[in-house]
C-alpha cells in the first residue's frame, strides 16, 4: 500500500536478525522461558548480538568487516540496562507485539534473545502490512487492542496519540535509562514526542531525504571527481547538471525523484522547499504552503521534473528505487537508503558508482536536509504490561541492532549519533558520514493529527502540477485550502485544538544558528 | 389392482384452468385411455393421479383412499413417459432397480424381479448398458420394465409411444396391451393418437379444453359420438359434418338432401362416416359432388368430393377410379346417420343407433 516502504523494511530487519536469533536460541529454546532460574547468562546472549552473527556473511567479506562493534557499547542500551532487574520485575510476563503479516516468523526468531535476556514471553499479533493502519485503528477503536506494542509510519504518530491510543513512555525511559540523548534531536522530537504532550514513541527506522549522484555520469558533466559539498552547491546547479546530463544520451535519465500521487510528491516538494526556508505553518498553526519559499521550492521541483525520468509522475519509493538501482537515472532525490542499498551487489547495478552528497543549497534559503518519513515504535494505551512492551521496543531499537541493520543495507536506518559517527559503520555505509552531519540541521514536518491525510491530499495536487495540469501555485493554493479543512476536522482552530504551534516548533528545524557541517 | 376415482377435480394455474370439474371412475384392472388434442388437460389429469400435480379442487381417490396430499412417491403408481425418462447416469439394470430400491424391496428379491421384468420386455441382454447406448425402442422397453418391475397399483403412461416410428409403435402397442392384461394392473394411458386409443383402451375418455366430452368403449366413441367434437376427432378420415336445416323429416344442405327422423328439426348438423357412404346411381343419391381428390391407399380408396363450399370424404371400393372433376353421386346408410345440434354441438338422440358390433 502507500506506506509500503516502511512496512517491509521492518520485515527485512527482522529476517536479517533471524539468523542471529536462531544462533542465540540454539540450546535454550527447548526450555521454558518463564522460570528465571532457567534463563541464560545475559552476557552470553549479548555477546552473540555481534557483527559476526548478525551481518550477512557476503557483506562481511565484501567490506572486510573486522567483527568489531559498529556502535558505541557505552550507549548501547541492551549492554547497559540491568537485565537482572528486568528479570526480577518482568520474568514470566507477556508482551503482545503487533507485527506485519509476513514477519511473524522472523520476528519470533529475532526476539528470542530478548526473551532470554528479560524472561518476558513475546506473543506476536500478526497484522497484514497492507492494511496495517486500518487494522491498528480497528484494534484501538475496539477499546482493548489485542497487542501491547506496535511499530508504524511516523506521520501517523499524531493520529494515534491524539485520541489517546498510545501510552506515555517518559517514566519508563527514565527508569530504564533509555539513552534518548544519543538520538539525533529531529528523531527524538518528531518520532518520539507528541508536541508537548510527552514521549510516545521510540524512533525506529530513521530516514532522511538526500541527493545521490552517479559518479561516472555526473563527472562527465562536472569534469572532475565529485566533492560531496561543493560539486552541486545549489539546486540551480543541479538543474543545470540535469540539463547537461539530458544531452549525454545512453538512455539514462538525468534525474529521478518521487513524483507519484499522494505523499510521495509532497515529500519531494518539502525536500526542496525546506531549503528555500519554507515553513508549513505560521505561529498560529495556519498552513502557509503557498509562501514565497514554498513557491520557490515548487518552481525548482517543476524545473527538475522536466528532466526527470519518464514515469516520474507514477514514481513512489519502489519505482524510484528500481530506476536508481537499475541504472536508469544519473541523479536521484530520495531517502538515504538509495545510497545504502546501492551497495548491495545482488540488487544494484551501480555498486561503487554513486555518491550521496550534502543537500544542495538555495540562495536566500538555508541548509535544511529534510527527514520525511520512517517509523516509530509505540505502546498501546490499553496495554496490560506497558513496561514490558517498552522494554521490548527498547531492545528492538537499541543502537547495536540498528547499526547492524544498516550494515545489512536492509533499509532500516539507525538514528543514533554513536552509530552514524562510528568509523567502521561509515565504511560499510557510504551515505553515513554526510547523513550524520546533515541530521544536526534536519527539517521535519510536525506529526500533528491529520498530517498523513494532509500529505496525501497535497501530493495529489503537486502530482497535477508535475504533469502540467495545473500550475505550481494552484497546487499549493489547493493544498493549503485542503489542509485547513482537514485541520479543522481534527479540532484545530477551535477549543478542541490539542496544542499550539509552539509545542512542535522546536522539532521542525534543527539547524538554526548552527555552523554548516562542511567547509 | 385399484380403482381410481376423480371427484369434481379442478386444476388451475393462476388464471388458466387446466382441468374443469372432472368426474371419472376408473375400474380396477381397466385400461383407460385419455384422448384429446394437445392442451386438452389429459396429461394434467394423469399427473394429478400420479401425484405430480395437486388438484386445486376436488378429490383424487385411489383404492378407496383420498390421496390429494399423498406424494407421488407414496401412491404406488408407476409412470412411463414420452421421453422415456431413463436416468442417464445409471445402467438399465440400475434404472429398473431404482423403484425397488426406493421402496425398500429386500435386496434378495431385487435381482430376480429386475431380470423378470427385463425378460418381459426382451431386454435381458442390455442390462449393463447405459440408456444412451440403446435405440429408441429399447429405451421405451426399458422404461416399461422399470414401470412393471414393482407391479404397482396403477400404471400411468404419458404418450409412451409417440417418439417411436410407426412400425415399432404398432408392435409396442401389442406388447403394452399384453402386459396390462397379463399383470391386471389398472392403467391410465394418455395419447393424442386415436389408433392407439382405439386399439388399447377398454374405455376411452375424450377430452377437450379441460373437460370430458365423452367416455365410452372404442366402439361407442367411434360409432356413437356424443357431439361434433368427438365425431370430428375420431376416425381417419373423420366423420363428415355438414351443417343444414331440418324440416318435416327432411335434412337439406347445399348439394345434399336426405330424409331424417321427425324429431330432428331446425339448424342441425348431419354427421356421416366416410365408410357409410356409397357411390350410387342417379336417383338414389343423397348427395352429388365433383371429385376434388382421390387417395388410393391400397386397401381402399378415399374420395374427396366438393359440393358447394363443403368437402366431403367418402370411402369407396379399392378399385374405384375417378378423375378430378367427375360428378359422383353418393347415398347413405340411413341408420348410420348422426344428427347434432349445430348450436351446441350436442348429439340429437332421436333414433336408436345401429351399432357395428
Amino acid at each position: 500500500m502507500t506506506h509500503r516502504k516502511y512496512d517491509i523494511s521492518r520485515r527485512r530487519f527482522l529476517s536479517a536478525s533471524a539468523a542471529a536469533g536462531l544462533a542465540a536460541g540454539t540450546g535454550f529454546r527447548a526450555t521454558p522461558l518463564f522460570a528465571q532460574s532457567d534463563l541464560p547468562d545475559p552476557q552470553s546472549v549479548l555477546d552473540r548480538i555481534s557483527v559476526r552473527e548478525y551481518v550477512r556473511k557476503d557483506y562481511q567479506d565484501l567490506y572486510n568487516m573486522s567483527g568489531e562493534p559498529l556502535w558505541d557499547p557505552a550507549t548501547d542500551w541492551i549492554r547497559n540496562v540491568d537485565w537482572e532487574k528486568v528479570r526480577q520485575e518482568q520474568a514470566g510476563k507477556t508482551v503482545r507485539f503487533a507485527v506485519g503479516a509476513a514477519d511473524q516468523e522472523s520476528a519470533a526468531e529475532g526476539l528470542v534473545p530478548f526473551e532470554q535476556l528479560s524472561g518476558i514471553k513475546v506473543e506476536l499479533v500478526p497484522i497484514p502490512d497492507d492494511s496495517f493502519y486500518d487494522k491498528a485503528i480497528a484494534e484501538f477503536i475496539s477499546g482493548s487492542a489485542s497487542f501491547d506494542a506496535l511499530q508504524f509510519f511516523s506521520p501517523w504518530l499524531g493520529d494515534f496519540a491524539a485520541p489517546g491510543f498510545l501510552a506515555k513512555l517518559d517514566d519508563y525511559a527514565e527508569k530504564w535509562n533509555l539513552p534518548l540523548g544519543d538520538f539525533y534531536d529531529t528523531y527524538r522530537l518528531n518520532y518520539g514526542y507528541f508536541g508537548d504532550k510527552g514521549l510516545y514513541g521510540l524512533p525506529f527506522d530513521c530516514d532522511i531525504q538526500m541527493v545521490h549522484l552517479r559518479k561516472s555520469l555526473v563527472e562527465q558533466v562536472t569534469g572532475g571527481p565529485i566533492d560531496v559539498a561543493n560539486t552541486v552547491p545549489t539546486y540551480d546547479e543541479l538543474i543545470r547538471i540535469t540539463d547537461e546530463l539530458s544531452k549525454l544520451g545512453g538512455n539514462v535519465a538525468p534525474i529521478g525523484l518521487l513524483g507519484a500521487r499522494g505523499f510521495w510528491s509532497t515529500y519531494s516538494w518539502e525536500h526542496i522547499a525546506a531549503q528555500c526556508g519554507m515553513e508549513l505553518f505560521d505561529e498560529n498553526f495556519e498552513p502557509i504552503l503557498n509562501s514565497e519559499a514554498g513557491q520557490k521550492g515548487m518552481d525548482i521541483l517543476l524545473a527538475l521534473s522536466k528532466n526527470a525520468i519518464e514515469g516520474v509522475s507514477g514514481a513512489g519509493w519502489g519505482e524510484n528505487r528500481a530506476a536508481w538501482l537499475g541504472g536508469q537515472v544519473a541523479t536521484n532525490i530520495s531517502w538515504q537508503d538509495s545510497g545504502t542499498q546501492a551497495m548491495r551487489p545482488d540488487q544494484s547495478q551501480i555498486v561503487g558508482d554513486f555518491v550521496t552528497i550534502y543537500e544542495p543549497r538555495v540562495e536566500g534559503g538555508r541548509f535544511a536536509p529534510p527527514n520525511i518519513a520512517g517509523s516509530t515504535s509505540c505502546v498501546a494505551a490499553t496495554s496490560q504490561n506497558p513496561e514490558g512492551a517498552f522494554l521490548m521496543l527498547a531492545f528492538l531499537t537499541t543502537s547495536s541492532i540498528m547499526a547492524m541493520n544498516e550494515a545489512n543495507a536492509n533499509g532500516v536506518a539507525p538514528g543514533y549519533r554513536s552509530v552514524l559517527n562510528n568509523p567502521r559503520l561509515r565504511e560499510v555505509s557510504q551515505p553515513a558520514e554526510v547523513w550524520s552531519n546533515s541530521l544536526d540541521h534536519a527539517w521535519c514536518a510536525p506529526r500533528i493529527p491529520g498530517m498523513f491525510e494532509m500529505e496525501q491530499v497535497l501530493g495529489n495536487e503537486i502530482n497535477k502540477a508535475i504533469v502540467g495540469q495545473i500550475s505550481g501555485q494552484e497546487a499549493l493554493e489547493n493544498g493549503n485550502a485542503a489542509w485547513r479543512k482537514i485541520m479543522e476536522k481534527n479540532g484545530f482552530f477551535s477549543n478542541r485544538q490539542i496544542f499550539d504551534y509552539a509545542a512542535v516548533k522546536d522539532g521542525v528545524y534543527m539547524g538554526a544558528g548552527k555552523p554548516l557541517p562542511f567547509g | 389392482m385399484a380403482r381410481i376415482e376423480l371427484k369434481d377435480v379442478v386444476k388451475r394455474y393462476g388464471g388458466f384452468t387446466g382441468v374443469r370439474r372432472m368426474d371419472l371412475d376408473i375400474a380396477d384392472e381397466e385400461f383407460l385411455v385419455l384422448l384429446g388434442p394437445s392442451g386438452c388437460g389429459k396429461t394434467t389429469t394423469m399427473r394429478m393421479i400420479a401425484g405430480l400435480e395437486v388438484p386445486s379442487e376436488g378429490e383424487v381417490v385411489i383404492g378407496g383412499e383420498v390421496v390429494n396430499e399423498v406424494d407421488a412417491r407414496d401412491r404406488d403408481v408407476a409412470m412411463v413417459f414420452q421421453g422415456y425418462a431413463l436416468y442417464p447416469n445409471m445402467s438399465i439394470y440400475e434404472n429398473i432397480r431404482f423403484p425397488l430400491r426406493m421402496r425398500g424391496i429386500p435386496k434378495a428379491d431385487q435381482d430376480r424381479l429386475i431380470r423378470r421384468a427385463a425378460e418381459m420386455v426382451e431386454l435381458g441382454d442390455f442390462l449393463d448398458r447405459k440408456p444412451g447406448a440403446l435405440s429408441g425402442g429399447q429405451r421405451q422397453r426399458a422404461a416399461l420394465a422399470r414401470a412393471v418391475v414393482r407391479q404397482p397399483q396403477v400404471f400411468l403412461m404419458d404418450e409412451p409411444l409417440s417418439n417411436l416410428d410407426a412400425k415399432l409403435r404398432s408392435s409396442m402397442r401389442v406388447q403394452i396391451k399384453h402386459l396390462q392384461r397379463q399383470l391386471k394392473i389398472t392403467t391410465v394411458y394418455v395419447t393424442h393418437d386415436q389408433i392407439e386409443a382405439m386399439t388399447l383402451a377398454d374405455r376411452i375418455v375424450i377430452m377437450e379444453k379441460g373437460a370430458i366430452r365423452q367416455i365410452g368403449t372404442p366402439d361407442e366413441i367411434y360409432s356413437d359420438p356424443a357431439d361434433t367434437f368427438v365425431a370430428g376427432f375420431i376416425g381417419a378420415p373423420p366423420m363428415n359434418l355438414v351443417e343444414g336445416l331440418a324440416e318435416n323429416g327432411r335434412f337439406a344442405a347445399p348439394g345434399l338432401v336426405v330424409a331424417c327422423p321427425g324429431g330432428v328439426s331446425g339448424r342441425v348438423t348431419l354427421g356421416v362416416r366416410p365408410e357409410d357412404c356409397h357411390v350410387v346411381g342417379e336417383g338414389l343419391a343423397a348427395l352429388e359432388g365433383r371429385v376434388y381428390g382421390v387417395e388410393p391407399t391400397g386397401e381402399t380408396t378415399y374420395l374427396t368430393l366438393r359440393t358447394g363450399e363443403t368437402l366431403f370424404e367418402v370411402k369407396a371400393a379399392r378399385d374405384a377410379r375417378f378423375n378430378l372433376g367427375d360428378l359422383v353421386r353418393i347415398g347413405f346408410d340411413p341408420d348410420r346417420l348422426c344428427y347434432f345440434d349445430t348450436e351446441t354441438g350436442a348429439r340429437l338422440r332421436v333414433q336408436p343407433y345401429r351399432s357395428v358390433a
Binding site: S131, A322, D346 | A50, A72, R73, A78, G83, N89
Partner: protein
C-alpha cells in the same frame, strides 16, 4: 463459377495473419514474463531492456528459502477446495429450487443471487473486515473459505441452474413416481445428470478463488492463511522493491493448475464464464 466457389471474404492468408498476430500478442508477453522468473534481479530493470539475459535461479532460491511457499500452497488448496464445497452445498439446492419449483418470488430470488456478482469489492471490503474480526475469524483458512464461497456463490448457482434447466422434467417425475423423495431425486437423479455443470461451476469458482486478492489481503496475515495470490504481495514492495522475478515465478506456479483445470472444462468454458447464460 470457380471464382464464386472461393467465397469472398474467406481469405485464408488474412485469416491466419489476424489469428496468428493475436496469438503472438497473447503469448509473447507470457513467455517474456516467464523469462523474467529466470533472470538475476539486476537484469530486469536496466537502462535498455535486456532480451537475452543470464540464466539464474535467484528467484527460486528466494521463494524456497525465504518464504513458506508450501504453506501458501496448502492454504490455497484448502481454502479453494473448502469454498467450492460450501458453494456446492449451498448452491445445488438453491439452483434446484430455482429450476424445479414454481413459487412466488422465485425469479426475484434468482436475480438477487445473480446481482451479488455485481457488487464491487471496494463497497463491502471495510464492513466485511469488521464482520470477520468480530467473529474472531481473521487470519484463518476458514474465513477465506467463507469469503470465497460468498464471492462465487452466485456464479455456482447460476451455472448449475442453467444445466438443471436442461434436464427434462420427466426424469424427476419418473423418480418421484418410482418412490423417491425431493432430496433423493436431487441426490440420485439431478446431481448426476448435471454433473458437467457442477464440475464447470466448481472449476470456474475455484479459478476465481485462486485469484482472489483483495479480501485475502484483508483477512490473511500470516502463513496460517496466506495464499498463493497474496504471496505475490510479498514481492511487490518493501525495502527490496518490486521483486519481479519472484512475482513472475509465483504467478506461473498459480497459473499451471488453473491451466489444467481450464483444459479439463474447455467444452463448457463459455457457458461457465457467462454464468450459464450462453450454451456453447
Amino acid at each position: 463459377m470457380a471464382k464464386r466457389r472461393k467465397s469472398k471474404g474467406d481469405n485464408l492468408v488474412l485469416r491466419y495473419l489476424v489469428l496468428g498476430s493475436w496469438a503472438l500478442f497473447c503469448l509473447v508477453p507470457i513467455v517474456w514474463f516467464l523469462s523474467i522468473g529466470f533472470r538475476p534481479r539486476t537484469e530486469i530493470i536496466t537502462p535498455t531492456p535486456i532480451y537475452w539475459p543470464t540464466f539464474s535461479l535467484d528467484a527460486w532460491r528466494l521463494l524456497l528459502a525465504d518464504w513458506p511457499i508450501f504453506d501458501y500452497l496448502r492454504n490455497s488448496v484448502l481454502a479453494v477446495t473448502g469454498s467450492v464445497v460450501i458453494d456446492l452445498i449451498l448452491g445445488i439446492p438453491a439452483a434446484y429450487s430455482l429450476t424445479r419449483y414454481e413459487y412466488r418470488g422465485r425469479d426475484d430470488i434468482g436475480f438477487y443471487i445473480l446481482s451479488t456478482r455485481m457488487m464491487a469489492p471496494a463497497i463491502v471490503a471495510i464492513p466485511i473486515f469488521f464482520l470477520f474480526r468480530n467473529l474472531g475469524l481473521l487470519d484463518s483458512v476458514f474465513a477465506l473459505m467463507l469469503i470465497y464461497a460468498a464471492v462465487n456463490l452466485s456464479i455456482v448457482v447460476w451455472i448449475i441452474r442453467s444445466y438443471m434447466l436442461d434436464i427434462p422434467k420427466e426424469l424427476e417425475d419418473a423418480a418421484r413416481t418410482d418412490g423417491a423423495g425431493d432430496l433423493r431425486i436431487l441426490w440420485e437423479i439431478i446431481i448426476p445428470a448435471c454433473l458437467p455443470g457442477i464440475i464447470t461451476a466448481s472449476v470456474i469458482a475455484a479459478i476465481f478463488a485462486i485469484n482472489e486478492f483483495l479480501f485475502t489481503l484483508l483477512i490473511a496475515s500470516t502463513k496460517n492463511a496466506y495464499t498463493m495470490s497474496v504471496a505475490l504481495a510479498n514481492f511487490t514492495g518493501g525495502s527490496d522493491g518490486v521483486i519481479y522475478n519472484a512475482i513472475a515465478l509465483v504467478s506461473f506456479l498459480a497459473f499451471l493448475p488453473i491451466l489444467v483445470l481450464i483444459v479439463l472444462i474447455q467444452k463448457h468454458l463459455s457457458r461457465g464464464l457467462t454464468m450459464g447464460a450462453v450454451k456453447g
